[in-house]
Assembly symmetry: C2
Homo-oligomer: 363 residues x 2
DNA sequence: TATTAGCACTCGAAAGGCGAGAGTGCCAGC
DNA sequence: GCTGGCACTCTCGCCTTTCGAGTGCTAATA
C-alpha cells in the first residue's frame, strides 16, 4: 500500500515530536500541533494503519507511538527537510573551526573533537585508505653514529626519524644509501618494497651492516601508516546526555565499543562525493553494539586527493535534520580549509603552505 | 587522642571490606572476618569512637560504617600493605607493555591507554615540563618553491615540516638560512627566540621575503610543544563500572572534566622520584569535580631526563593497594624501556636506537 | 464514504503502606 | 573492659492502589 500524503505528514510529525521529547507521541499531541487539520480520532485511525505498515510501533497498548527504524528511514529519505542553520550557528561553527584549524594541518583527532563539540554527540573521524608513496628520500649525516632519515610523501607531508647506531658508519655510506633509496624507493607502493629490492640496494651500497633493512623498515612503517585508514573517536561521554543511555550498562557497552575504534561502515553506506551525507539507522549498522543507534556520516575533501569521513553517533531518536545540517557545514568548511587551493589568508606567515609533522601532536 | 592498635586494625578492616563490597560495613561482618578476636559489641563501641574521631561515618543511623577521606588517608599512609602482584599479573602486564611499546617510542596516549586497561579505571598521562632545546637545524632544498625543515631536538627526536612557498627562492638562500639558523638557534630555549634574533638572522641571510620569521615560528612551535606538559586521558568510560557512578549525571560530570584534559595536581602531590607513588584522596583534589574521587599517581623516567606521570582516577572507594601495585610496576616497566640504557634487544633491527616522529600516530 | 465526538477500557507510572532485616546503642552481667 | 542480649531505628523491597494518558470502537454527521 502506498503511503498517502496525510500519512506522511503524520509520520513526520510523530518523528519530529519524538525526537524533541523522547516520549511516545499521542494522537492528541499531533492534532494540537496544528500542522494537520483533522481531529485526533482521524489521526488515531491513521496511526493504527502506520503501525500496521511497520513505520510506527507502540511500546505498550495504551501508549503513544514511536517510530520504527523503517519509519526513521522514510523520514530521513523523504520527509525531513534540510534544516537551515541560523546565522549565529554558522558563525559559531566558523569561529570554532578557525580556532582548531588555524595551523592548516588538521589532525584526525581535531576533526572528530570538533564534530563532537558542535553536535553534542559522540563523533568519529576516519581517513579513507589512500595510495600515498614516497616522493623524496633524504638521509642527513650527523655524526659517525647518527643520521636523520627524512621521507617526503606524495601527500606533501614530511616524516623524519633520528637514528642512532651502536656502530660507526662513514659519511660516504650514508650518502650512497641516501641516493640509492632516493632512486629505488620513491614512487612505489608499500607492496613494492620487497626483500629483493632491499637486498639489491644493500649490495649496491656495499652496506655490510644491514642499515638498508632498517631504513626499509622505516619506509614500510611510514607508508603503512600513511595509507591505513585511521580512526579517532571523541566525546563518547556525550552519550550520557541522551535519555536512552541513562542506563549505565547500555551506555558503557556502546562507549567501550566506540573507544575500541573498530568502527566499520555497513556496505554501501560510505558517502561517495565530498559533501554527501549518509545516514545509517539502527539495525542497518554492521556492529551489534550499534543496532539501536544511528550514525550520520559526511565526507570531506582532506586535500591530496584523499577524503576523510566524519560521523556522529547517537540514539536512533537523534536529531537527523540538525546534525546533518551541521555536519555538512562542517564538511564543507573542512574541505575548503584543507584542500590546498583554499583559504586565502593574510600575511607571509599564512601564505606559505606548510605540511608536516604536527608539533602540536601530543606524544 | 591516639589511635590504638586495635582501632587501626578495625579501620583497615572497614576500608578493605568497603572497597570490596561498596556497601556500608557492619560490626558483625568485621567480627566474622576473623582478623580480630573480639565480639561485635566491642567492635561497635570502637566503631562509634572512630566515627567520633572523624575516620568513619554513617550514611544513616542504622547503617554500617563508611570511611571518610580522613579514614582513607590513614589507611593509605599507615595501614595499607603493599599488595604483591601475582606471577600471572606481572606476566600479563609485561606482555601488554611489550605489545604496546615495541617500537620503543611510547606516545603519551599509549601510556595512558595501557594504564587504564591494566587497572580498569580511567587513566591520565602527563609529561612534565622539560627544557628541550634544538640540537641541530637542517633545511633541505627540494625545488625553487619547496624546502624541508628538520629540527633535531636535544631529546633526540627529529621533527620535520615540508614548506611550500608561493614564491621562488634560490638554493643559496636556503643554504645560508640553514647554516645561520643552525648557528643561532641551537641550544637555546624558547624564550631566547626573540624578535631581535630573528631580525638579525634575516638581515644576515639577506632574506627579503620574511622566510626567517616563518622558520622561527616553526622553531618556537616545536619547542613549545616539546616543552609544554602534555596530557592525555583514556578509558573515561570505565568509570561506569563503578557503582558510585551509576548516576549518569555524576558520571557525565566527571567524564567531561577528564576529557577536558585540564587536570591539575594539588600542590605537593607530584611524585618526586621516579617510581614514587602518590595518592590524592577526595577533597584533597584541586578540582571541584574530583572532590569525591581519588587519584593515584606514579612517576616514571621517560628518558632524556624527563619524567612522565601516570595517574588513575576512581571513586574514593578505589582499590588503592592493587592500583598502587600495578601502577608502580607499570612505571618501573616504562622507565626501564624508555630510558635509553635499557632493554637490550636482539637483532640489528632493534640494536639501533631510533627516535623521531612516530608514524603510528593518527592524524 | 470519510470524518468526528463520545465513551469504555487498558496499562504503565507514581504514590502510599507494610513488613523484613540489618545494624545500632545501651545495659547488665561476667 | 569485654560480651551477650534486647529494644529501637531506618532503609529497602514488595505490594496495592490510584491516576491519567492514550487507545479502539461505535454511532452520529457532513
Amino acid at each position: 500500500m502506498a503511503i498517502s500524503e496525510r500519512k506522511k505528514r503524520i509520520l513526520a510529525a510523530v518523528v519530529e515530536e519524538y525526537i524533541r521529547t523522547a516520549e511516545p507521541v499521542g494522537s492528541k499531541a499531533i492534532a494540537q500541533s496544528g500542522c494537520l487539520s483533522c481531529s485526533s480520532a482521524t489521526i488515531r485511525s491513521e496511526l493504527a494503519e502506520l503501525v500496521a505498515m511497520g513505520y510506527l510501533e507502540q511500546p505498550h497498548t495504551s501508549a503513544g507511538r514511536v517510530p520504527t527504524p523503517m519509519g526513521y528511514r522514510i523520514y530521513v529519505n523523504e520527509l525531513m527537510q534540510r534544516q537551515k542553520l541560523s546565522l549565529e550557528e554558522t558563525e559559531e561553527m566558523n569561529r570554532r573551526m578557525n580556532l582548531k584549524l588555524q595551523e592548516l594541518d588538521a589532525t584526525i583527532s581535531d576533526v572528530s573533537r570538533l564534530a563532537s563539540q558542535l553536535t553534542d554527540y559522540p563523533a568519529l573521524a576516519l581517513t579513507a585508505r589512500s595510495a600515498v608513496t614516497i616522493r623524496r628520500f633524504d638521509l642527513i649525516y650527523v655524526d659517525a653514529n647518527t643520521f636523520i632519515m627524512v621521507l617526503t610523501l606524495s601527500s606533501s607531508v614530511a616524516k623524519s626519524k633520528l637514528v642512532q647506531l651502536p656502530v660507526s658508519v662513514d659519511q660516504t655510506l650514508v650518502q650512497r644509501l641516501s641516493s640509492l633509496f632516493n632512486a629505488g624507493f620513491t614512487g612505489i607502493t608499500e607492496e613494492q618494497v620487497t626483500p629483493l629490492l632491499i637486498k639489491s640496494t644493500e649490495r649496491a651500497a656495499d652496506d655490510t651492516m644491514g642499515l638498508s633493512s632498517v631504513i626499509a623498515a622505516f619506509v614500510i612503517e611510514t607508508l603503512t601508516e600513511a595509507n591505513s585508514p585511521a580512526a579517532f573517536v571523541s566525546g563518547e561521554n556525550r552519550l550520557l546526555n541522551q535519555p536512552e543511555f541513562r542506563d549505565p550498562d547500555k551506555a558503557h557497552r556502546l562507549m567501550s565499543y566506540l573507544s575500541g575504534g573498530g568502527y566499520v561502515l555497513p556496505p554501501g553506506a560510505e558517502p561517495q562525493e565530498s559533501g554527501e551525507i549518509r545516514v545509517v539507522i539502527g539495525p542497518e549498522n554492521a556492529a551489534e553494539e550499534l543496532k539501536d543507534s544511528s550514525v550520520i556520516l559526511a565526507s570531506y575533501d582532506a586535500g591530496d586527493n584523499t577524503r576523510g569521513l566524519i560521523g556522529v553517533v547517537g540514539p536512533t531518536r537523534m536529531d537527523y535534520s540538525a546534525v546533518a545540517a551541521k555536519l555538512s557545514f562542517l564538511a564543507a568548511g573542512l574541505s575548503r580549509r584543507l584542500s590546498s587551493g583554499g583559504a586565502p589568508p593574510e600575511g607571509m606567515h599564512n601564505k606559505l603552505i606548510i605540511k608536516g609533522d604536527d608539533p602540536n601532536e601530543h606524544r
